[in-house]
Subunit: 246 residues, 2 copies
DNA sequence: TGCTTGTCTTGACATACATCAAGCATCCAA
DNA sequence: TTGGATGCTTGATGTATGTCAAGACAAGCA
């Protein structure tokens, strides 16, 4: 057991720490934000008790009221089409914000499920809108977050449309690596929070293809695979197979 | 030549009409907006002279200053990856708003090109941010527009990840049909503004597959194809082949 | 301990779509 | 009128990935 406050929050889940104490605040709030403005945001945030693996935070069609910041654990979002076919649309790690679907229609447009025991901060959106009118940097921040989501989704369209299985898997691994690194975790030793099924679903591949691709990348020495434990041996070469080539 | 003000604007391009006169305002501005607030928005908008087919409005890396509303014609957005591989990320028709990429980084994240002679309204984003602080319904509106973009992109991820060629093409045709209908044009007779190349690029297919798919749908009687002129004979059946099934 | 269940891996085979190639129509310039 | 782009269609063939099937491994439970 470490003394990392992130892990304490994760394990006990009832610690009501504040945004200003949170070591993730650089990720979900503007860096250049007044301490008194941070407190204003802090006051409207609801911190949840832990959500168990497989539990939903919201589902398609639920009324939209809040967006969510992941505090610990990991979350997936997915669509269900009319035939019940699932499309995973994103994986969210601590410090990342989800729930920007549904502002347009007042109804959430996707399903959100914890992939492991997780905690989230619930941010009532109407309150954020009110605060944004007083705190321009906050308004800007939320425009930026949504803009980044749009850019990431476009990159994902490129991945799905133009890359082969190796490129897709490598792209995901490097994305996770970068996001682990941003939280000061090792960018080379990852424990994947999601199943092969979720990876395949997200990347538009079958689990068999995902599995074979992991094996191939391992045989080529780029990564070391042990179930969900992944070690990245060669970032550069992984990068170089990320290019489009179907 | 019709007397549709849309076409007049398109053909001459220099007519400086205002938002309150624009027959597209229901699409790009909130419906429930005060006339005096509309005028405030109107005052910050720059109306461009016509942009020729193939001309760019901005490119990846250009400084982000404005978003754009399509006034006439049609626009595509696309990414270029390191190897020069292109991914079309969207098609934009009159009344639709583009350019939400780049708010996060202050640099545009994609390229924007006119597919035919087009006119756009340039909306300086900082001015919109300022106005949004005074006009809450405007702030909400831009959050909603971005949210809709995110939802549309997620649907696109499902299309690319889970649908076969027929499903992808049918999904695009119905999307265009709906958007034509929203502008009070026939939802059954479309003139496609984009090439087979752009369609294929957008849908993650080759032009040959796009062409064959059009031919097949025609042989099955669902559509009538004449170059870029498409007539939809059977919306219902087109809908029914949109489901995921790779 | 054995049984069940879920997750992952690996192999054999099938197929949707890519690739390669040819041909047609339209447009434009010489 | 000719020649050369450009855009689109159609056919023949190849291949990456899907599908089907079997088995390994670990976790949980009786």
């Amino acid at each position: 057991m470490t003394t990392d406050p992130y892990n304490i929050a994760c394990t006990h889940g009832f610690i009501q720490s504040s945004c200003s104490d949170c070591n993730l605040k650089g990720l979900c709030l503007p860096i250049a934000m007044d301490i008194k403005d941070i407190d204003k945001v802090d006051n409207i945030i609801k911190r949840s008790r832990p959500i168990q693996a497989g539990e939903h935070i919201y589902r398609t069609g639920d009324g939209f009221t809040s967006i969510f910041a992941v505090r610990s654990g990991s979350i997936k979002t997915y669509l269900l089409d009319d035939d019940g076919v699932e499309q995973v649309t994103g994986f969210y790690l601590p410090g990342e914000i989800l729930g920007f679907d549904g502002i347009g229609t007042e109804k959430h447009g996707c399903n959100v499920m914890a992939m492991e025991t997780s905690t989230v901060c619930e941010i009532p959106f109407e309150r954020i809108e009110e605060l944004s009118l007083q705190i321009p940097v906050l308004q800007r921040h939320f425009f930026q977050l949504m803009s980044q989501q749009i850019e990431a989704d476009h990159q994902m369209m490129l991945t799905l449309s133009k890359k082969n299985a190796e490129g897709r898997v490598a792209t995901l691994l490097l994305s996770l690596s970068r996001r682990f690194g941003r939280r000061n975790l090792s960018p080379n030793s990852l424990r994947l929070p999601m199943s092969r099924m979720d990876i395949g679903n997200f990347l538009g591949l079958t689990i068999e293809t995902v599995s074979r691709t992991f094996s191939r990348l391992q045989k080529e020495g780029l990564i070391k695979v042990d179930g969900r434990e992944i070690h990245i041996n060669d970032h550069k070469q992984l990068q170089s197979i990320c290019h489009a080539s179907k």
